[in-house]
Assembly symmetry: C2
Homo-oligomer: 259 residues x 2
DNA sequence: GCAATGCTTG
DNA sequence: CAAGCATTGC
């Protein structure tokens, strides 16, 4: 089984690239998309359905938005934090979480806030959101299902995940963010990518600005985190940088795990 | 010798399509472009020069803009109405005219105002501009050079040039516009396309809106007009609708004349 | 419907 | 640098 995560930075703009990539994959089971940037009614479902894929979406206008595209039907679809945390508060004004069960595995697709700048209001929101995610996972883990949690985390957990370790301390690599993510992983998740690859220099995102990709100024901020049973079963995890070479690419490229 | 006219609706957006089309033509001598929508410093000259073409431009920000791309060098290049009508008044705030001599033929590349709606201020501007063009041609014809005048005229001269003759009277087919164009042609120009093809149903422009191209709701508003000596020599004139079928096409497609 | 603009976000 | 938005033009 293969599951991929890809921040496409607008599904409407990237549709042809996503379809071409899907066609090339052949054996993909689930594709988790982030930053679809479209309300559910305008998501191009048909393009995927015509190819035989199942589609579940959770989006909004302009910002954020997540989606699950799968070969077989998805079950027990949950949108946002509310299904597990309750809807007394509106956790889900920003659409950043969608989850479903695929062949007995709970797939959790996340778009973690970017945080803008360390110390900013958006940074505070990112940290609060990560605390919320921890709560959410605490509940989710009580189901005793195997969980695959993937998406754009907007956090490079270790210095080897950044092209320049001097970036440690800045946004996406500050200690509070890393600590928050470590606490989440401590609930019982491991990084599928690091099961197979230890060296630095593997990235999933390159800034559009000032030739970030050409100069390979990348960050590994898109992750596949697995509960212990799945981590045991994982046989591969890799980053496909090909889509980042396209004309008008997303700034992110897919990360794929094989179970 | 082959000369083409093509309203590309932004040369920066259409560059790859224009280059691919040029590559397919092989024997093209001069390509007259309209609606380049770019200031001269930002025109992508290099892309053409690398392929061995000569480039002359006359553009502005956002709107209008014309250019000449040629296999051999162009001589006696003139920008706007001013070179023949004098610069006491600013005829050329809108960049709509460029002209040059190619192998002894004066090529005149025009982007006639659209006119928006019959009776509007822009419609009045269109009629004034056509009167100005008539004056300009009166001077130009004194040079006794053969003249090829082509471009986007934004006028369908006869009912057979529109998908629906009921459009006669509306913008691009109103009697004052047609009369103004007839007066211009009466100075000594003939329609190269109609030398070879009499039937209706041949168009060079289809509105982007409401599936104009798919329903073949077209207009023939891009023209190749020739002075008598050249008209005599013309051996073919046709519309290449292939570029209009492209992804993200211009709303116009090229018209080519062979001399 | 598809360009352009200037604006905001990442 | 490239999305989104709203506005303008054709």
């Amino acid at each position: 089984m293969q599951i991929a995560t890809w921040n496409v930075n607008s599904i409407r703009t990237r549709l042809s690239q996503v379809l071409a990539w899907l066609d090339r994959q052949g054996s993909l089971d689930v594709l988790c998309l982030q930053e679809t940037k479209v309300v559910d009614e305008e998501f191009p479902r048909e393009a995927f359905q015509e190819r035989g894929y199942w589609v579940e979406v959770y989006g909004q206008k302009s910002y954020n938005g997540v989606a699950l595209i799968s070969r077989d039907p998805l079950e027990k679809v949950e949108r946002g934090f509310a299904p597990l945390l309750g809807s007394v508060e509106d956790w889900d004004e920003q659409k950043r979480v969608i989850s479903a069960v695929y062949q007995g595995i709970r797939i959790l697709n996340l778009y973690v806030p970017n945080g803008s700048e360390v110390g900013s209001e958006k940074y505070a929101y990112k940290l609060r959101w990560l605390a919320l995610l921890k709560q959410y996972l605490t509940v989710a883990l009580q189901q005793k299902e195997p969980i695959l949690m993937c998406g754009d985390f907007n956090i490079a957990l270790e210095d080897r995940d950044i092209y320049d370790p001097k970036k440690a301390g800045e946004i996406m690599a500050s200690e509070p963010e890393r600590q928050a993510l470590r606490e989440i992983l401590a609930l019982g998740f491991q990084d599928a990518f690091r099961k197979f690859t230890a060296e630095p220099g593997h990235f999933s995102w390159w800034d559009y600005r000032s030739g970030g990709f050409q100069r390979n100024r990348g960050w590994r901020i898109d992750h596949q985190y697995l509960s212990p049973d799945l981590y045991e079963k994982a046989t591969a995890c890799w980053i496909d940088i090909e889509p980042r070479r396209a004309e008008k690419p997303s700034d992110h490229t897919p990360v794929i795990v094989t179970l």
